[in-house]
Symmetry: C2
Subunit: 173 residues, 2 copies
């Protein structure tokens, strides 16, 4: 039986020199591992009455949408600029490399009471904290990540603005 | 009980004048509808022994990844240019508006026997046929779409290059 940790491929100097990129696609393409991955990332939150999963474009969708399905929750995409067709809120994002923005429809969380933020990777926490700021106050119940690069201190950055629970499946020191 | 068809919002002149954009996010954010959507899109393929679901970035991931999970299949992302970190195959895509390219890791389908292509929307068929060409011959077992805009003849375009089954949940004339 393959293990999730062992199938992640480290790609040197991608997308820019000095970055070691964690390629998660070998985990996702494996029938058993994709299933185990979603089950493990979901089971933590089963008793939390999550009604909405919000995920960040686009790798976040790959883990967030199945978790929403399994939790019987709705799914809200937090998207790159100019991708959503109706009125949006925007947040600037500082990434490990570069700057961008994420957006969400203004009516996305109208009926939400408990929101779970899911992304594939927690690095510096720039995307996760921007996601948090896009979601109305007090709705965020937790943050779930497939992989956490702990030396980049993203967890600390989230904890500075939110008391919500943070769970990562695979943590690199 | 809400209905999928009734929650899709038509946005005039987005992303360019003359296009009526189908905004599917109201369906996805609804707990019941997202669940029903994935169940309905999946049940068609349950007996087809699908081992891999391939979906197109990024809205395709929102439906494709949960379907992969539910079918106990692996998930392969077909991505926009320069997003995948290792060696890729590329295909040009003619869209309803504009041109782009989609890419996949060269080793993505190494262990696949039956591949299901999932996307949110079938319009002109440009993306779906490009996806088909990225997948090794004879592996594509079917195409599944949440919405089909039948007047744009995407179904016909797919049928010109593939005998695989094509299923759409909501069809607009």
């Amino acid at each position: 039986m393959k293990k999730i940790e062992c199938e992640i491929i480290e790609v040197q100097d991608y997308p820019i020199p000095g970055i070691v990129f964690k390629d998660l696609t070998p985990v996702w393409k494996d029938q058993d591992l994709f299933n185990i991955l979603i089950d493990k990332m979901t089971e933590i939150w089963v008793e939390c009455e999550i009604d909405t999963v919000a995920s960040i474009e686009s790798r976040g969708f790959v883990v967030g949408a199945p978790i929403a399905y399994k939790l019987n929750a709705g799914f809200v995409p937090l998207r790159k600029p100019n991708k959503l067709p109706r009125e949006v809120y925007s947040q600037a994002v500082s990434l490990e490399y570069g700057e961008t923005e994420i957006q969400v429809h203004k009516d996305a969380f109208q009926e939400s009471k408990k929101v779970l933020i899911i992304d594939d990777l927690l690095a510096t926490g720039g995307t996760a904290t921007a996601a948090f700021k896009l979601i109305p106050e007090n709705l965020v119940t937790g943050f779930g990540f497939m992989v956490e690069l702990s030396e980049l201190n993203g967890r600390k950055k989230i904890e500075e603005i939110s008391d919500a629970r943070i769970e990562s499946l695979v943590i690199y020191d």
